[in-house]
Amino acid sequence: MNKFLRYLYPYKEYLLLIFLVTLGLFLQVINERQGSSKARAAAFGSVVTAYTVIESITGLLPENEEIENLRIQNARLNLELNMLREISDENTSLRSLLSLRDTIQYPFVAASIISKLSGRIRGYYIINKGEQDGIFTGMPVINESGLIGVVSIVAGNFATVRTLRNPKLRIAVKNQRSGIGGILEWDGIRLIIKNIPTNYDFQAGDRVVTSEFSTLVPPSIPVGVAAEKEEKISGILSNIHVIPFANFDKARNLFVLKVTLDKEAEQMIQQAGNQPL
């Protein structure tokens, strides 16, 4: 045994590296389990003290009730303006109008970003509002310009927001003018709507909003503007590049819409399943 250990001794750094990397990867696998998300939420809630101290020292995010109210009003007006644009469209159905009215009526919770995790590849924000403010996983997050993302983890006073700049977040969107729908995703550099048939009416300059088919966010929240139509090699399908209305680099103040569509949809599906045919 001693001989064996003596043999391994010169390689101790490599063995340690393998052991610790394996341990780290094991932790990452555990993360996927349901129970660990609560532990993660509790752990990252530990930054409360540090945040409070730093905020009080630096005053990085000075908040004033009046400014906050104005921002909420601004965001509400932006949604309302978007609704009015939609109403003017002759093809808008009664159903979407009702949905829009509902969107504006959702209560807002104003929040500030306290940290932006990662850069262009893994887009997460941490905001200073959490479970105690009535925020839950799946709630959409906007700013005065448009959609930012969806709440992914919630702790007592904090929450993480998975932004549109995260490849794991895919949102059903539509062209506000023509009603053509698609799935919006982040490819690492740009927001794109993939595989739109080339002959469909989707032009540069068209406004892109969330779709009625989305189970994550309410319909008609402004997302961005179509910038370019890139035809694929086959020529049958195209990718649409979308420039978001929201500036993700400069965003600091956000609003959480207090609605969780996925849960509501899930409940409805369950209720439908329980009813006799």
Partner: protein, 162 residues
């Protein structure tokens, strides 16, 4: 306990808080410095590869817990960073800042490797070429981190012969 361990530990916690709360606001086009690597590289260069690897894992795990990021993701990348920086450990150099240009070059390449490993889990599902991914996610943050570290040159101490 060795005083330098306490110093490095405290530095890490402070830098982790700065990384978490202040660095997001000094990012340039989503490129930001990874300043939590400074104590890891310093520790590895002053204490050796074995201790540097362990320190990288512990620091990474603490940062994962504080930041709400996926547990283990920074632990793995900082472990590899500590291991890599430890290759350049020289017992005769008492202060890693003494040969400051060498320190900056090691920091640059350590950041390059760390950020690459850290973001590899997100590479899946992206339409980026690997070169573009490397540039955006590793090379630019590594340059920014090295640039941020330049003022540390003022903390150089006189070399002691050991």
């Amino acid at each position: 306990m060795n005083k330098s361990y306490i110093f490095i530990g405290i530095s890490f916690v402070l830098l982790a808080i700065v990384q978490f709360l202040v660095v997001p606001f000094i990012q340039i086009y989503s490129v930001y410095p990874k300043i939590i690597l400074l104590p890891v590289v310093y520790f590895s260069l002053s204490q050796g590869q074995f201790r540097g690897t362990i320190a990288g894992f512990i620091f990474g795990l603490i940062y994962d817990l504080l930041s709400g990021d996926i547990w283990g993701i920074n632990a793995v990348s900082l472990t590899v960073a500590g291991f890599f920086a430890g290759y350049f450990f020289d017992e005769s150099v008492t202060d890693p800042f003494y040969y400051f240009r060498k320190f900056l070059i090691i920091l640059f390449f350590t950041t390059l490797i760390e950020t690459l490993i850290n973001s590899l889990s997100s590479f899946e599902g992206l339409d980026l070429s690997f070169i573009a991914f490397l540039l955006i996610q590793s090379i630019l943050p590594a340059l920014y981190t090295s640039f941020i570290a330049v003022p540390l040159a003022f903390f150089r101490k006189e070399m002691k012969i050991s």
